[in-house]
């Protein structure tokens, strides 16, 4: 477990900023204590200083997970967000998409959000903007990337994809063994 290098931090922040913009600041600079990102097994964990201290007691090979896993770095040093980061993305998300109840399940099974299932969308969403997907009951279901802008979403035919699926809470069950 080690702190992120500058490059890694940059990559990760770039990714995060797609979803929560400059709200990353709120993650880094928290009023309720000092929190930090740590890299372990190519995964980035977000934890409080307390937990960090506690985690130092565990050897590296034994440590499976600590704090909240935000995602992992791929071999090509790209950052991939995991669904576990949803707890931190959802409250700070800038752009959101609400999915109709009928499409909830489809999304939770890993499918993209179609226009027909799109219930609500934040205005001025740009294409390829990271969005957090909510159910109509405002329960965060996951996140993805807007395939169309808000304006385009109004026009497109119902079967076209509006949001590309990236992660959904269904992964907690589907990828139970790999999520840490």
């Amino acid at each position: 477990m080690r702190p992120l290098t500058e490059e890694e931090t940059k990559v990760m922040f770039e990714k995060l900023s797609k979803y929560i913009g400059d709200n990353i600041k709120l993650l880094v600079d928290r009023p309720d204590g000092s929190y930090c990102f740590r890299l372990h097994n190519e995964r980035v964990y977000y934890m409080s200083e307390k937990i960090l201290k506690l985690a130092t007691n565990i050897s590296r090979d034994k440590l499976v997970s600590v704090g909240t896993c935000f995602g992992k770095f791929t071999k090509s040093i790209k950052f991939r967000l995991h669904i576990t980061a949803l707890d931190f993305l959802a409250p700070y998300a800038k752009f959101k998409v609400w999915v109709k109840p009928g499409q909830e399940q489809s999304f939770l099974y890993g499918n993209h959000v179609l226009k027909s299932g799109l219930g609500r969308i934040t205005e001025n969403t740009m294409q390829y903007q990271g969005v957090v997907v909510y159910s109509m009951t405002d329960v965060p279901l996951g996140f993805g990337v807007a395939a169309k802008t808000t304006q385009e979403c109004r026009r497109v035919d119902p079967m076209s994809i509006v949001v590309f699926h990236q992660a959904d809470v269904g992964e907690f069950i589907r990828n139970e063994d790999t999520l840490t």
């Binding site: 702190p3 992120l4 500058e6 931090t9 940059k10 922040f13 770039e14 900023s17 913009g21 400059d22 990353i24 600041k25 880094v28 600079d29 000092s34 930090c36 990102f37 200083e49 201290k53 959802a90 409250p91 800038k94 752009f95 959101k96 609400w98 109709k100 109840p101 009928g102 909830e104 226009k115 799109l118 219930g119 609500r120 969308i121 934040t122 205005e123 001025n124 909510y134 159910s135 109509m136 009951t137 405002d138 329960v139 965060p140 808000t150 979403c153 109004r154 026009r155 497109v156 035919d157 119902p158 079967m159 076209s160």
Partner: protein, 1224 residues
């Protein structure tokens, strides 16, 4: 052979006679002689059938000769008869046999033809390798058709106009129209497998359709223009067809094209226009840009408006500042989207909760019901009045009485007086009166009520609607009556009249809305026995309530009612008998009695209403009632003449019972619809009343229709008690209803009832005794426990009571102690049958605990819950043992075991250890923190780089972005709790900052001044020191106070600037004044300094010397002198004090202002000011407190608490607002 009928024969005739007689005409084959005989065997008719071989001529002759001829005392009547059936049967069989024997000609012919055809080379009507149109050799009218089939040439008759002609239909010429209907049964003969007509014709239907054409294989000619047509047209056509490409439509025109396109699985009709968004035509279809443009134009013109509307309906676009609040969304959904709601994977608990029916109404009906009920009530009253007045004159009088009595009650209802008696009376009124009206509406017989019916029925429907969803608690009148009876039982000495009165009187103080409360109200008056029973009933009720929560009625519950009825009907009828006997005797009494009856009925009605609210009764009460009834009956019989009033009362009772009995019966008879039943019952009650009144009137004089009926009815009552009420009521309009119910009523056998009652009574008594024993035991236990309680209480001083112990804690400990002394179990039992406490006030005095429990009397279950909670809390970690310190304390205490004497307190902890450890930890932690801090900074910087904006600018950029985003100012509300809205506040801070700066400037100036003066007056400061030094010597505390005061002044200045408006409140006038003055002073000083500069160039030392001189004097007149005396301006100097000045110079720095003041007088005294200058006298005062420091402190603290409260309140308000806004 003929068969003849020969009638009119004499009885004595024989077959031979007949043979002989008819033998002349022909050969008689058989004679069948028949004789008809009546019951006694006497023949009255004889005839015969004769089979005779006879020619027609002979038959004629025979007929003419013999017919109507007299023969052996009879006139012959001869007719030809049908053949005997046997003969006919035989004949039929014979013919059948013959027919069977004959070979069918048609078949033969067919076969022949087939044979001939086969000879001609036709096999199975097919001729292979034959050209269509060739005739079959040997058969002119058979022709070879398509597929080599041999078909007949048809000669069709065609009627054209007047003349008919035949058309020859040669199948070979129309061969292309013929399709082969070949089946697997190709080898079968054509005749064997006739094709059904429906199958033959299906193909021809819908001939003009494109589809059918295609099916027939007739494809329309290739139409290049259709494809080559400009795309806009195509689009238009598509539009018209409802987008056939995207979805299947039923449009037949569209089908032609749509059929060729494989469609998505879209529902055809639902969202057709909306879903059409993308260009329906692939790019390859579109030939030119021009066409594309046109297409786009057409599409947009046609669809855009609609589309956008629908899109906006479907797709909601929200702003960036859309708040995500799961709770609210759910609420919204519940309100609106049902589909979503259905799907929504809410918690099952939630779903259950939402689907649950409204909670069972165990207590009194909600207050909203009352108005409607009253309305119904009033109308009902009216109807009642009308009906009754119509019926009887006397009854009318009584009705007036009753209505009078009713009206106050309704009024009571209105004034919402919450006396329980009134309430009960309300309830009485409400239920009985409303329900009868409904029943009235049902019964068609009534003429007069019809006007009121509508209103009644409406109210009733409302009422029923209200009650339809509510599980009803059914308690009959009988139950309440029983309660009352039991009360009477226990207090037998009291007159029965007092019952109703006392009950009603006693009830008022309590506001019984819940059944428990009502019960409590009842119980307080009643004896212990009754209370016990009620308690039992309560328990039962609770159980039943649970059971009945969802279901409306339980069969068992009805069963109890049945029991009740049985007993009560008996008793009531007995009562009735006797009561009526008395009635007949006394007319006057009857009048009163009827009125009192009304009261009684009301009472019962109240009870019934109560019952309905509460629950059904227990069998035990029933018995008590029965007993009471018996008593009453006795009393009635004995004191029929003695006490009029008593009698009346008892009569009332009797009547009440009657009604009750009726009710009970009816209820028992009720199949399922409880409400109706009750209505009917209530009506029955009323009718009973009227009938009673009628009875009274009948005895007096008035003659009405009912009278006659009533008298026999009474007789019937005496004869057969059970049906009596019905017979009575049957006199009135309810005949129909009564009749309906009559068959249903199956009163239990009287004997059975009695036996049951006895058994129940025995059981009850046993239970009562047991209960009493228990209560006594409980008492003892409690007493013992309390004695134990006292003992530890005496030594309570030795107990270590932890500081955190609240009252609750103490209670806890108390409880624990009690449990240790095994008081708990008795307590519980006490609560269970807590009536003992209420009944015996003396008992209450025995212990305070009991009093406590007495207050909770009927929340026994709650109490138990509380006990359980206590139990649970016992295992909680005590607050003093929580945390790290708590662990230590625990460890400490564990050394001493559980000995209470050594209970450890937080005082036993050594706190300095902790501190040391903490400090160590902090030391170690700081390094890490630093590292983290660095890391954070780093990451922030990276973040900045990532976001492309610096951290500070990010905030500013935020602000700018805010400015950019349009906001509706009118919709903007100032919310103090929101940080952003701080921008809307007019900030005092800026001024504060400015003032700070100003103050700093001032300070600097002030600091400068001494410097300036140092050059000139370095002695002056010394001289001041001397002054203060002296004062210090005299009272150091005072000087300190001065210094503090100065500091405080500064602070207050500060504060003032912060809170301009509160200035005057916060800081006293004394504080406030100095600020301007000081500024003034400073100005003066500046001036003075200016003068100094100008005037003294190098004479500083001399000046200092001078100042030294008068400072000595000021020492002589110590503190007061500079406060009040202008003497210190004198130039007399003392050298001694100067030494002290040097020592205390450092201390002086803080009181530079004072020094300034000191300086100014000196200067002014020297150069500009006369010693009498008023400013010199006033100035020093500014630096003195007018009030004591403590006072000021107190004031300030007071203010501070106030302010704090104020602030908190505001904060809270703001929070609440925020919450509400979020919720809404």
């Amino acid at each position: 052979m003929q068969r003849l009928y020969v009638g009119g024969l004499s009885h004595t005739i024989t077959q031979k006679d007949l043979k002989d007689r008819f033998g002349k005409f022909g050969q008689v084959e058989d004679v069948e002689l028949r004789t008809r005989k009546d019951d006694e065997g006497v023949p009255y008719k004889t005839f015969s059938y004769i089979n005779i071989n006879i020619t027609d001529a002979d038959l004629k002759k025979c007929m003419t000769v013999l017919n109507k001829s007299k023969w052996k005392g009879g006139t012959l009547q001869i007719e030809t008869a049908k053949e005997s059936f046997l003969h006919r049967l035989a004949e039929e069989r014979q013919t059948a046999e013959q027919q069977r024997l004959l070979p069918p000609a048609a078949e033969d012919q067919k076969q022949k033809m087939l044979d001939s055809l086969s000879k001609a080379g036709v096999e199975n009507f097919t001729m292979k390798a034959a050209v269509p149109g060739t005739e079959v050799p040997g058969h002119e009218d058979w022709v070879v058709s398509k597929f080599g089939r041999v078909l007949p040439v048809l000669q069709l008759k065609c009627q054209k106009g007047s003349r008919a002609r035949t058309l020859k239909y040669d199948p070979s010429k129309y061969s292309h129209n013929i399709r082969k209907l070949d089946r697997p049964s190709a080898d079968q003969s054509f005749s064997d497998l006739p094709t059904p007509v429906s199958q033959l014709t299906w193909e021809l239907q819908g001939g003009d359709d494109d589809i059918s054409k295609k099916r027939r294989g007739e494809f329309p000619a290739y139409e290049p223009p259709k494809r080559k047509k400009s795309r806009t047209d195509a689009v238009n056509s598509l539009k018209a067809e409802g987008k056939p490409r995207l979805k299947q439509s039923v449009d037949p025109v569209a089908l032609t094209e749509a059929a060729q396109v494989t469609n998505g699985p879209k529902p055809p009709s639902a969202v057709r226009p909306a879903q059409r968004k993308g260009p329906p035509l692939t790019l390859s279809d579109i030939d030119s840009d021009d066409e594309i443009h046109r297409i786009v134009a057409v599409q947009s013109s046609s669809h855009n408006a609609l589309q956008q509307e629908e899109d906006e309906d479907k797709l909601e676009v929200v702003g960036l500042d859309y708040l995500v609040t799961p709770g609210r969304a759910r609420q919204q959904q519940k309100g609106g989207d049902e589909e979503e709601n259905d799907y929504d994977s809410a918690d099952t608990d939630e779903l259950l909760a939402s689907r649950k029916p409204p909670p069972p109404r165990s207590s009194s009906p909600p207050p909203q019901e009352r108005p409607t009920l009253t309305a119904g009530n009033i109308s009902g009253n009216n109807t009642d009045r009308k009906r009754k007045t119509k019926k009887k004159s006397k009854a009318g009088e009584e009705e007036d009485d009753s209505t009078d009595a009713e009206e106050p009650s309704t009024q009571k209802r209105r004034d919402a007086g919450k006396l329980s008696s009134q309430k009960q009376s309300k309830k009485k009124k409400v239920l009985p009166v409303v329900k009868p009206s409904s029943s009235e509406s049902e019964s068609d017989d009534e003429e007069e009520e019809e006007e009121c019916e509508s209103a009644d029925s409406s109210s009733d429907s409302d009422y029923e609607a209200m009650f339809s969803n509510v599980t009803r608690l059914e308690i009959s009148l009988a139950d309440l009556q029983k309660l009352a009876e039991e009360f009477q039982d226990t207090s037998e000495t009291t007159a029965p009249s007092s019952l109703s009165v006392s009950e009603q009187e006693t009830k008022p103080p309590k506001k019984g809305t819940t059944p428990e409360e009502i019960l409590a109200a009842l119980m307080e008056d009643d004896s212990s026995e009754e209370e016990e029973e009620q308690q039992q009933s309560k328990k039962k009720k609770k159980k039943k309530r649970k059971a009945d929560a969802t279901t409306q009625l339980l069969p068992a519950f009805k069963g109890t009612k049945v029991l009740n009825e049985g007993s009560e009907t008996e008793e009531g009828q007995k009562e009735e008998e006797e009561g009526e006997g008395t009635e007949v005797k006394k007319l006057k009494v009857d009048h009163k009695a009827t009125s009192s009856k009304m009261n009684g009925q009301k009472h019962t009605e109240t009870e019934s209403s109560e019952d309905e609210e509460e629950e059904e009764e227990e069998p035990k009460k029933k018995e008590a009632v029965v007993k009471n009834m018996a008593e009453k009956a006795e009393s009635v019989s004995s004191s029929s003449s003695d006490d009029e009033e008593e009698e009346e009362e008892q009569e009332n009772k009797g009547k009440v019972f009657k009604t009750m009995a009726k009710k009970a019966q009816k209820e028992s008879s009720s199949s399922s619809d409880e409400e109706e039943e009750e209505e009917e019952v209530l009506k029955a009650n009323q009718t009973v009343l009227t009938s009673k009144a009628a009875a009274a009137s009948s005895s007096s004089s008035s003659s009405e229709e009912d009278e006659d009926e009533i008298l026999p009815a009474k007789a019937a009552v005496k004869a057969a008690p059970p049906p009596a009420p019905h017979s009575e009521s049957s006199s009135s309009e309810e005949e129909e209803e009564e009749e309906k119910q009559a068959p249903l009523r199956v009163p239990l056998g009287a004997k059975e009832e009695e036996a049951r009652q006895r058994k129940a009574n025995i059981r009850r008594l046993a239970a009562v005794q047991q209960r009493q024993k228990e209560t006594e035991e409980n008492k003892k236990l409690i007493q013992g426990a309390l004695a134990n309680l006292d003992a530890p209480a005496a030594g309570a001083g030795k107990h270590i009571v932890f500081g955190s112990d609240d009252d609750d804690e103490e209670a806890d400990s108390d409880d624990e102690q009690q449990t240790t002394s095994e008081i708990k179990t008795p307590k519980k039992t006490l609560f269970q049958d807590s009536q003992s406490e209420t009944e015996a006030p003396g008992h209450k005095n025995t212990s305070t605990k009991e009093k406590l429990s007495g207050t909770h009397l009927f929340g026994s279950s709650e109490e138990e819950d509380a006990d359980e909670e206590e139990d649970g809390s016992r295992f909680d970690i005590r607050p003093e043992f929580e945390g790290r310190a708590g662990h230590k304390l625990m460890a400490l205490q564990s050394r001493f075991g559980k000995d209470e004497r050594f209970k450890m307190d937080s005082r036993f902890l050594e706190q300095n250890e902790d501190k040391e450890e903490e400090s160590e930890k902090k030391k170690s932690g700081t390094e890490e923190e630093e590292a983290l801090e660095e890391e954070r900074k780093k990451s922030l910087s990276i973040l900045q780089s990532v976001l492309g904006i610096s951290q500070h600018t990010s905030s500013s950029s935020k602000a700018t972005s805010k400015a950019k985003t349009f906001r509706d100012v009118s919709a903007l509300h100032y919310d103090p709790s929101r940080e952003e809205h701080a921008a809307f506040e007019t900030k005092t801070e800026e001024t504060k900052k400015e003032s700070k700066a100003a103050r700093r400037k001032k300070r600097e100036e002030a600091q400068k001044l001494p410097e300036v003066s140092k050059e000139i007056y370095y002695d002056v400061s010394g001289d001041l020191k001397a002054v203060f030094g002296q004062t210090k010597e005299e009272g150091e505390g005072e000087e300190d106070a001065v210094a503090v005061a100065v500091a405080e002044k500064e602070e207050t200045n500060w504060d003032q600037e912060e809170e301009k408006k509160k200035e005057q409140e916060e800081a006293g006038e004394q504080v406030e004044q100095p600020t301007p003055e000081s500024s003034l002073l400073s100005a003066e000083k500046e001036e003075a300094s200016g003068f100094k500069f100008s005037f003294f160039g190098d004479d500083a030392e001399t000046g200092s010397g001078e100042t030294a001189e008068y400072k000595i004097e000021s020492i002589q007149a110590p503190k007061l002198s500079w406060q009040q005396d202008p003497r210190f301006h004198d130039s007399s100097s003392d050298e001694e004090e100067e030494e002290e000045k040097g020592q205390e110079e450092e201390e002086k720095t803080q009181s530079t202002i004072i020094a300034k003041i000191e300086e100014t007088p000196t200067k002014t005294g020297l150069f500009f000011f006369s010693p009498e200058d008023s400013r010199l006298t006033e100035g020093p005062k500014l630096f003195c407190r007018s009030s004591q420091l403590e006072e000021q402190k107190e004031q300030w603290e007071e203010r501070r608490t106030e302010l704090r409260q104020e602030y908190r309140k505001k904060h809270k308000d703001a929070r609440r607002k925020l919450k509400t806004s979020v919720k809404s």
